[in-house]
Structure formats: structure tokens, C-alpha cells
């Protein structure tokens, strides 16, 4: 046995060992990989849990062992598939030539130039996001590589003399294909495939990273790795062990591929007689010696070039950074970019962007309790029926180009907004202010400084509606050149995807803006935001959502973190047309859920826990509400037992009306909703309630929800987009509640109908408070908590960086250089 064979044997055995681990997973694992104890979440490695536990309190060692199954199997299927399809087509194409080659290679061109990601999404959309759709998508674009390789290998030997000789001597084409073409192409193809196993495994992990591959219900290394990414610093084992598993497996497969190459290469070891080989070896010595020197030179040059570019940029970097000089004050603000435009009429996101960056302002502005307060409008009056509003525009307000903000300028801005929604009038039709304020008419009296708004129906909440970013006041006379508003800063230049350069609005009405210049830097990734803040590249960032980064910054006094329990509520609707029609079951569910732990650990502080559908930070009397169903697992079980929902057949699942309880839970992957759903499923199983969890994208879930095919469905909803919760509370009005679970309560309906016509603020508040309590008492909905907004700043550089409750405001004139 020669060396190549020995090495091949060793790596084959190693590969076999890994495969055995996958096959024998139940014997090796120490725990059930799906069994979760929420109280044990994120434990470090120890004697009980060798690799620690994950954020659901599951044993990581067992999960890594079980993960070998999905990870290896899916990778092998993928590679075998592309090798077979690609290799066969490539060899045929290269050998046959002519139209056959043209057709195959053109299909290959088409598939390979079709971006794999787009195909994956489309497939994920068609079949649901899963490993299978990821495998099919990668397969569909990757076989072409093998086809091209096989073809080029065949082309290489096609015109060799021995092939010609074979053909001349009458060997059939089919035999030439099998006996000359296939053997000449196969070694390289197999080697490529063997080395590709590792790469493909990483490719699948990359798909999972982007949320297109394995889902939370499967046990797979790539998904574990991505899940652990949020805990990179605080709980590194969550990333280290799955990462190590991938790394080791990939390495073994790569080594196997390498040794296979040595083995299958007939020209190296077996093809040559010993004597000739030695002679050739001697000859090659010269060539090796001489070109080693050249190669060394090349490598040194490459490294030197790399170092130089690094050093060069270092000096450039320090020069370009914030100068911290005395004369000019400058702010670097890092944030996610939701829009390439700043014009409020283009989309919702563009209107939000302009307001968040401090470029535009509205006639009204929401305070910390999300009540609309006068802003550019300083005085207003409504007719008794709330259809006609007269708004006085604050005197002396100017746009950042010096043009005065008159009522007719405001009217022009609003009329442009409505014109743009209408494609018939030449607009793009992307914004929809009508959903807040349908077909208003405006008239301006510049002498009196008054703008009159006439609404189609009584609108007691007009100030809240006009505080919505769509109604940002801009100078329409220059809109074809740039977006000019009344905010503390004005745009100098914008590069989509990169950032915005801004400077002080010299005409700002509400005192001088604190910074001479501001650079907004667009940052997509949450960890990158944290690093940019720590490296000093930015002084201020919004919403870092990675748990470990958050914990690290919270512990460091060099950073100030402003947190607001925002206006978004995370919840799961319960479907009353089904087992959840049972009140006892609903109450037991609410009592079985450890809401505080879920908010603090499972979703790592992204939510503030709460039990009402309206966020605790708003002025809707949260502190007067009572929760009759606090977390108490024993009471939950007792309630179920008392209601006769018990496990009679001993399978661990309780029965309702003689059937095993199995709730269909739908969750979409946004703002940690899938994490809540996963944790809730596990907790319900603990008290004997079976749950089938489906995690998918928003649209798939919405479609299922509209079809009524659910018992529980997640939602993350803005409760008071225009400062009033009436629309949101309509979800439980029996006239609207089909999609939200068929809830129906005569008292709630009566309150809602009263709310629709009530205009007196105190009366409205009383109704809203009562409605919240009705929902709580009826156990109508699982409230997870309220999505937090945060602003992070460097204490040494910035002061006054508070986050608003409603996330329309980021950069305000309160944010100023530290003294």
C-alpha cells in the first residue's frame, strides 16, 4: 500500500466516523435535542451540558450530534446531484458538439447567469423556506460549473491522437464516450466534487444566514451557527461548537477529496515504471529550485502590497476621521437605511427617513406618550363636528433655503402628496396618505397665516394624522432638485446605500441646530453598528439588535443607551373557531407562559414584557389594568384539570372533547416573533398541550391566516401610527375579527362603536381602557411585549441622545456635542 492509498484510507475512516456519528446520534446524544427548559437557557458548558445550552435551554451537545444528520445528508445530496447532472450533460456536450452542445451550454448559460439567491427565494416562496428549496436552488445554478468543467476536459482529449486512432480503427462513438471521454473527465470531476462538499456545506450555511435555508424547526449546524451569532461575545459556545462541527467536517471532506485526487491520478503513482519516475524526478529538481525562488518573490510581493495598502489607508483613515477640532462640530450617525429617497411622497419609508434624519418636520409632533403636540402649527381649532380644522402656521418659520413657510406653501406640499398617490395625475402611486385622511381639501389664507383642512368625515385625530411623516412640510418649488424641509439639518448630498452629508439649517426656527455638519452612515448589520460605535467611526447609532453587543455596551459606562418601550406590540392572536374557543384552555395558556424570561432571555431584551395589547409607555392607563392570569404553571395545570382537559390515554398530550390537543401555530420571521412562537410551543408542550409550529415569511403566514387555518398566529403591529389606537383596537371588533381569530364580545363591540363616534378625549380614554381590560379578562390574545427602540451614543462625544417612543424621530436638535 503506497502513501496515497494510506492517506485515502485514513480520511475515509474519518469520514466514516463522522457519518457514523450522524447515524448513531440517538446513542451518542446525552439529551433529547428538542427538549427545552426555558429556565436553563444559555448555560455555559459544564458536566450536565457538555457544550452548554442554547437560548431555548436545549442541550447543545445533543443538538450538534443530531445536527450532523441534516447537515451532512443535505450537503451530500446536493453534491451528488450536481455532479451527476452537470457531469453527464457536460461530457455529452463536449463530445457531441454541434447543436447538442449549443443547446446544453446555452441552458447552462441561462441557469448560471440566473442569480442563485433570487432563484432560492422564488423556490422558497413556492415551497416554503426550507433546506430542500435551498438545495434545489443551489443545484439549479451549480450543475453548470460541472458541465463546463466536464466539457472543457472532454475538449482537451477530443482531438488527441489516441482518440482519433480509436475512431479510425472503428470503435463505436458510444464506446469512445464511455471508454475515453468519461475516464478522462471523471477524476477531475470527482476531485472537484469531493473538494466541493465542504464549500457546499458552507453555501447552505450562508443561505441559512440570510434566512433562506434551514428553519428553526430543523436541527442543522448552519442554522445553529446563525442563531448563536447574536451571542458571539456573551455566550461564545453557541457559535463555537456548531462552527467547529462544520469546520471539522468540511476539513475531513476536503482532505478526503485531496487524497482521492492523489489516488485517482494515474500518472503520478501507478502509471509510471519506477525507474522512469526517478529519472523524471531528478529532471524536475532544477525546475523546482529555480521557480521556487520566483514564487517566493511573488508571494512576498503580494504580502507587501497588502501591507502597504493597509498602512497607506491607516494614515488616510486617521486623516479622514472626525477631526474633533475646535471650530467645526461634526456628528457621525450610523443607522439602517430603509429608503434611497428622502422625498416624503415617494414611499412610507422615504417619508420616515427624511423625518428621522431631522430634515423634515410636520405641523404636529408626537411627544413621549405619543400624543400629538403643536409644532409648525402653533394654534388650531376644530368645528364641532370635527370636519373643518383651522390651523395657524407658526410665524417666522423658514425652509432651510430661507423661503418662508406660508400656509400656501404647506398646502402645496400636501396637495403634491395627494397628487403623487394618484397615477392618473402622473404620480408614482406608492404613498397612501388616504388610509389616514381620505380626500381632504385644503385652503390657505396667507394674510391670516391659517390653513384650513376640510375632512370627508369627522376626524377628531387630525393633529395625530398630520404628525405622520407623510405630512412632512417641504418646499415644493425646488423639489425637482432637492428635498428642502424645516428641520434642524439640510441635505448637502446623498449616496444611496452609503450615506447622507448634511449641514446646519441656518434658518431653523427652534434655536440653532447643535452641529455644523452631520454625516449619516448607512450600516446594515447590527454587529457592525456596534463595532463602528466602539471604534469611534460613529458617535451615535440606532437599534443594535444583537444580544451580545447590547449587553457589552450596557455594561460599559463609555456609552449611553436610551431605551423606549415603543409603540409596536408583539402578540399572538387566538382563533376562537377551534379548540381555543375553550376559555379554560386560553386562561391556562396565558398562565403557562413565562413572559418575563421570554422577553429578557429568549429575545434578549428586544421586547419589554406586558399583558395589554396597548403598550405600557403610552397614555392609556396601563397601570390601572389588572392581569388575572399571571405566570403560574401549577395553576395552569389545575385550570385544565378542572375543565376536564386531561390526558386520559397517557401519551403526554391532554385531550379536549376526546381528541388530542394539537394547536396549529403560525409565526413569521420578523422582529423575533418566531423566537416567541418557538418558546411558547415548548412551554405549552410542558403542560400537555401539543403544538405544530409553522415558521415562514410574512406573506405565506398572512395567506394562511386569511384562510383561517390556524389556532395561534403571531403579529407585530404598530398600535398608534397616528397617535390613536382606534384602528388597531378594531382587530377585535366582531365585524373585522375574521382574520384575527373570530373574537366576539357584545360589550367590546358596544365600546368600539361608541369609540368610533366619541370625540371627547376623556370619554375616549375611558372606552379604550375598558376595551383593554375586556380583552385581558377574556384571555383573547397572547401579548408578548412591546418592541423596544434604542439609541446608543458615546458619552464623551454626544449628549442628549434620547430615543423617541414612536420611531419617527432619530436625529433631533436635542442631540448635541458633549461639553
Amino acid at each position: 500500500m503506497n502513501r496515497a492509498q494510506k492517506r485515502f484510507l485514513i480520511f475515509s475512516l474519518l469520514t466514516l466516523a463522522i457519518v457514523l456519528v450522524a447515524v448513531l446520534a440517538p446513542l451518542i446524544a446525552t439529551h433529547n435535542p428538542r427538549e427545552a427548559v426555558l429556565a436553563n437557557a444559555v448555560q455555559p458548558p459544564g458536566s450536565e451540558h457538555w457544550f452548554g445550552t442554547d437560548r431555548m435551554g436545549r442541550d447543545l451537545f445533543s443538538r450538534v450530534i443530531y445536527g450532523a444528520r441534516a447537515s451532512i445528508l443535505s450537503t451530500l445530496i446536493l453534491v451528488a446531484g450536481i455532479l451527476a447532472v452537470g457531469g453527464a450533460l457536460g461530457i455529452v456536450a463536449g463530445f457531441a458538439g454541434g447543436p447538442v452542445e449549443a443547446v446544453i451550454m446555452r441552458i447552462a448559460d441561462m441557469m448560471v447567469s440566473f442569480p442563485g439567491m433570487a432563484l432560492a427565494i422564488a423556490l422558497a416562496g413556492l415551497m416554503g423556506g426550507s433546506l430542500t428549496s435551498a438545495i434545489l436552488a443551489i443545484m439549479a445554478v451549480s450543475w453548470t460549473k460541472y458541465a463546463r468543467l466536464a466539457r472543457s476536459l472532454v475538449l482537451k482529449v477530443k482531438h488527441q491522437d489516441y482518440v482519433l486512432a480509436a475512431r479510425v480503427s472503428g470503435v463505436r462513438e458510444w464506446d469512445i464516450l464511455l471508454r475515453y471521454m468519461l475516464p478522462s473527465a471523471l477524476p477531475t470531476l470527482v476531485i472537484t466534487a469531493a473538494t466541493d462538499v465542504g464549500g457546499m456545506m458552507l453555501e447552505l450555511a450562508g443561505f441559512s444566514f440570510l434566512g433562506l435555508g434551514a428553519q428553526s424547526t430543523s436541527i442543522e449546524w448552519g442554522y445553529m451557527l446563525n442563531e448563536g451569532r447574536a451571542y458571539m461575545e456573551s455566550a461564545p459556545w453557541l457559535m463555537v461548537f456548531p462552527g467547529l462541527a462544520i469546520f471539522l467536517t468540511v476539513s475531513v471532506f476536503n482532505l478526503l477529496g485531496d487524497s482521492l485526487r492523489d489516488l485517482l491520478d494515474p500518472r503520478e503513482d501507478d502509471g509510471l515504471p519506477g525507474a522512469k519516475r526517478m529519472k523524471r524526478g531528478k529532471q524536475m529538481k532544477g525546475i523546482k529550485k529555480m521557480s521556487l525562488r520566483t514564487a517566493a518573490l511573488l508571494l512576498t510581493a503580494a504580502l507587501a502590497a497588502g501591507l502597504l495598502s493597509g498602512c497607506g489607508s491607516q494614515s488616510a483613515g486617521s486623516g479622514a476621521g472626525p477631526s474633533g477640532g475646535t471650530a467645526a462640530s461634526h456628528l457621525n450617525f450610523g443607522c439602517y437605511s430603509y429608503s434611497d429617497s428622502l422625498d416624503p411622497v415617494v414611499t412610507v419609508n422615504s417619508s420616515w427617513a427624511a423625518m428621522r434624519y431631522g430634515i423634515t418636520e410636520c405641523l404636529f409632533r408626537f411627544d413621549r406618550q405619543v400624543a400629538a403636540q403643536p409644532w409648525l402649527c402653533d394654534d388650531y381649532e376644530a368645528s364641532d363636528d370635527y370636519t373643518t380644522w383651522t390651523l395657524h402656521i407658526r410665524d417666522g418659520v423658514q425652509f432651510s433655503n430661507g423661503t418662508p413657510v406660508t400656509p400656501s406653501a404647506v398646502q402645496a406640499a400636501f396637495e403634491r402628496l395627494y397628487a403623487e398617490t394618484d397615477t392618473a395625475r402622473g404620480g408614482a402611486g406608492n404613498s397612501n396618505p388616504e388610509i389616514y385622511l381620505p380626500e381632504p381639501s385644503f385652503s390657505a389664507d396667507d394674510e391670516a397665516g391659517v390653513l384650513t383642512v376640510i375632512c370627508q368625515k369627522p376626524t377628531s385625530n387630525l393633529p395625530g394624522i398630520l404628525a405622520y411623516p407623510y405630512f412632512g412640510v417641504i418646499d415644493v418649488t425646488v423639489i425637482d432638485r432637492q428635498v428642502v424641509g424645516t428641520g434642524p439639518y439640510q441635505v448637502d448630498s446623498m449616496r444611496p446605500g452609503v450615506g447622507v452629508e448634511m449641514s446646519r439649517n441656518p434658518y431653523y426656527w427652534n434655536g440653532p441646530a447643535p452641529y455644523d455638519t452631520v454625516s449619516i452612515v448607512f450600516i446594515k448589520d447590527s454587529s457592525t453598528k456596534a463595532m463602528a460605535l466602539q471604534s469611534g467611526d460613529v458617535d451615535l447609532v440606532e437599534n443594535i439588535t444583537t444580544a451580545s453587543d447590547l449587553q457589552k455596551l450596557e455594561a460599559d459606562p463609555a456609552y449611553y443607551i436610551s431605551t423606549a418601550a415603543g409603540v409596536r406590540v408583539g402578540s399572538s392572536y387566538m382563533n376562537f373557531n377551534g379548540p381555543l374557543g375553550s376559555e379554560a384552555l386560553r386562561q391556562a395558556i396565558l398562565m403557562a407562559l413565562d413572559n418575563d424570561t421570554m422577553c429578557e432571555v429568549t429575545v434578549a431584551g428586544m421586547y419589554t414584557a406586558g399583558f395589554s395589547v396597548l403598550p405600557s409607555a403610552l397614555a392609556y392607563n396601563y397601570d390601572q389594568l389588572t392581569n388575572p392570569y399571571p405566570y403560574d404553571v401549577e395553576r395552569a395545570k389545575a385550570v385544565l384539570d378542572a375543565a376536564g382537559i386531561v390526558d386520559t390515554d397517557g401519551d403526554g398530550i391532554r385531550e379536549l372533547d376526546g381528541e388530542n390537543l394539537n394547536l396549529v401555530y403560525l409565526a413569521y420571521t420578523s422582529r423575533n416573533l418566531n423566537d416567541f412562537a418557538e418558546a411558547i410551543s415548548l412551554q405549552l408542550q410542558e403542560i400537555g398541550i401539543g403544538v405544530t409550529l409553522t415558521v415562514s415569511d410574512y406573506d405565506t403566514i398572512t395567506a394562511l391566516q386569511n384562510a383561517g387555518a390556524f389556532d395561534l398566529v403571531t403579529a407585530n403591529t404598530t398600535t398608534v401610527g397616528t397617535g390613536d389606537p382606534q384602528d388597531f383596537l378594531g382587530c377585535w371588533y366582531s365585524g373585522n375579527s375574521q382574520s384575527y381569530g373570530y373574537y366576539s364580545s357584545p360589550e367590546y363591540d358596544a365600546c368600539y362603536e361608541a369609540l368610533e363616534v366619541a370625540t371627547d378625549p376623556d370619554e375616549r380614554l375611558a372606552l379604550i381602557t375598558r376595551m383593554q381590560q375586556i380583552l385581558i379578562d377574556d384571555a383573547a390574545v397572547i401579548v408578548h411585549g412591546y418592541y423596544n427602540s434604542r439609541m446608543f451614543s458615546r458619552v464623551d462625544a454626544v449628549t442628549g441622545a434620547e430615543i423617541a417612543t414612536i420611531d419617527y424621530y432619530w436625529l433631533t436638535s436635542d442631540i448635541a456635542p458633549a461639553a
Binding site: 448559460d109 448560471v112 447567469s113 440566473f114 442569480p115 442563485g116 439567491m117 413556492l126 463546463r148 468543467l149 475538449l155 473538494t195 458552507l202 451557527l225 451569532r229 458571539m232 468540511v250 491520478d265 523524471r280 525546475i287 523546482k288 529550485k289 521557480s291 521556487l292 514564487a295 503580494a302 497588502g306 495598502s309 489607508s313 491607516q314 483613515g317 486617521s318 479622514a320 476621521g321 434611497d340 415617494v346 414611499t347 412610507v348 419609508n349 422615504s350 402611486g429 406608492n430 397612501n432 449616496r495 444611496p496 446605500g497 452629508e501 452612515v521 448607512f522 450600516i523 446594515k524 454587529s527 457592525t528 471604534s535 467611526d537 410574512y698 406573506d699 405565506t700 395567506a703 401610527g721
Partner: protein, 314 residues
Amino acid sequence: MTKKRVLYRLLHILLVVIGVSFLSFLLMYAAPGDPVRAMYAVSGSIPPEEVLEQTREEMGLNDPFLVQYVRWAAGCLRGDFGTSYSQGLAVSGLLLERVWPTVQLALLSLVMMVALAVPIGMFSALRQNTRLDYLLRGITFVGISMPNFWVGLLLLYVVAMKLHLLPVVSTQMNFQRLILPALTLALAMAGKYARQVRAALLEELRQDYVAGARARGLSEGCILWRHVLPNAVLPLLTILGLSLGSLLGGTAVVEVIFSYPALGSLAIDAITSMDYPLIQGYVLWIALIYMAVNLAVDLAYHRLDPRLRKEGPA
């Protein structure tokens, strides 16, 4: 011959583009989910079904598939790729803005990769089965076996945050901004290519023409640089073309980590917000760019490999 061949290929490109555009349109058409609903969902509240239906009608989403396809294709021919649902801006403008950064990133990472892979591969091959060979192959294993986003985060953490050699983020679109993302991509590819270079070199060095050349008294350097290396590297050219293609379309992970504004992350955003016009425009553009690159590679391949030069559709 070349002129005819190029024309021939251009015709093929046209066919492929039509195929790609049709397929992408079909896929988006068949995908479940409602773009109108998704459009409104951005604002947090979805209007009643009548309004949705009216919007669908206005946007032509209720027309038969072929009508929609032809309307879109005709627009594309005029340079009008439609308006993005999620961004409200012209698709061509959104894409154009990101083409140059994408090309820069792809080219720089290829250059970095070649600068790393070729010397490593040569070292490994010329010192086959020595300690140096094992060491270099070990390093390439690490390069191949590490997830992309892990390497990226690590580089960002060490180079930018701890050593302050480069900024973590900046508003300047300059060379500095390119270095780390390009390096992340290059490291992942370099391992693979170094192994390919090594394998190819070893194979070529054993060919009889090497002995022949030596017998004719050619110098060792001449044999390596003029004969062995070109022959070894040439087959890799096709793979390089493929790599360039996937770099142009599929670097989303790295783009997200480094906040780099290229096409991949734009596509991911478009896809998650069901922005059909943007997705379709993206797919078509990528396909076009990709095929242009492949044409160039194929032409170079035919030019460089004398064995193929005889062939041709004559």
C-alpha cells in the same frame, strides 16, 4: 473567424437573455404572496380588499401572464425597467447606482485572490509532499472551511475595531472601504484556487512536453513560465469567469456585514419586500453582465489555447 464567432455568441446571448427574463418573470408570477398587500404592509396598515383589488387593477396585475410579460419586456427595451414597489424609484436608477461598487468589489477580490492563490499553489506544487506543502495546504483548508460571515466579522473586529487600521464604516466610497470586503471574499476563494493551481501544475509538470522542452535545451524558467504555467492555468480561466459571475450577483452576506452598497444586498431587500420589478430588473441585469463576462472569458480562452483555435463555426 473572431468576428463571426462574436456575432454568433451575441445571438446566443440574446436567446439566453430572453430565456432568463421569461423564467424570472414566471417565477415571480408563480410565487405566492400578494405584492399589493406587501406594498401596503410597509405602512403598517392594510386597506380593505376593494382598495387592494383596485390597486391591483391599476397596476395591471390582473392581466394575463403573457400580457404582463410583454408589457414589461417592451419597457425594458426602452430602458424602462419599471418602478420599485418598495422604494418608489426607477429600477434602472437603483441598479445603476450599485453597479460600479459591485464591479469594483468583484474585481478587487479577484485580484487579491490571484495574488494569494497562484504563489501558494506554486509553492505547494513545486514542494510537493514537503512540510511547506502540508503547511500551505493546511492554511488553505482553514480558508475553505470557515463560513464567510465568520471571517468577515473577525476581520472587521480585529483589523478595524482593535487595530484601527481601517474604518469600520465611512461615508466615503474609496479604496479603503473596499479592502476588507474584498479580502473576505478573496480568502474564501483563494483556498480553493490555490488547490486547483497546485493540482493543475503537478499534472502539467508530468507531461512529456516538459521533458521535450528540456531536451531542446530550454531554460528552466522559460519552461515554467512560458509553457507549464500557461497550460496549467488556462483551464482555470473558465472557473474564474464563473467566480466573477457569482461575485457580481451573490455577495450579499459580505455586503451586509460591511455595509457595502452593492447589488446583492439590494436584491435581498427587494426579495424580502416582494418588490417584483426590482427583482426582475436585478435578475436581467445580472444575467447580462454575467454573459458579457463569459463571452470575454471564452474569447480569451480561444485566443490563448492554440488547440481550440482551429475550431470555429466555419
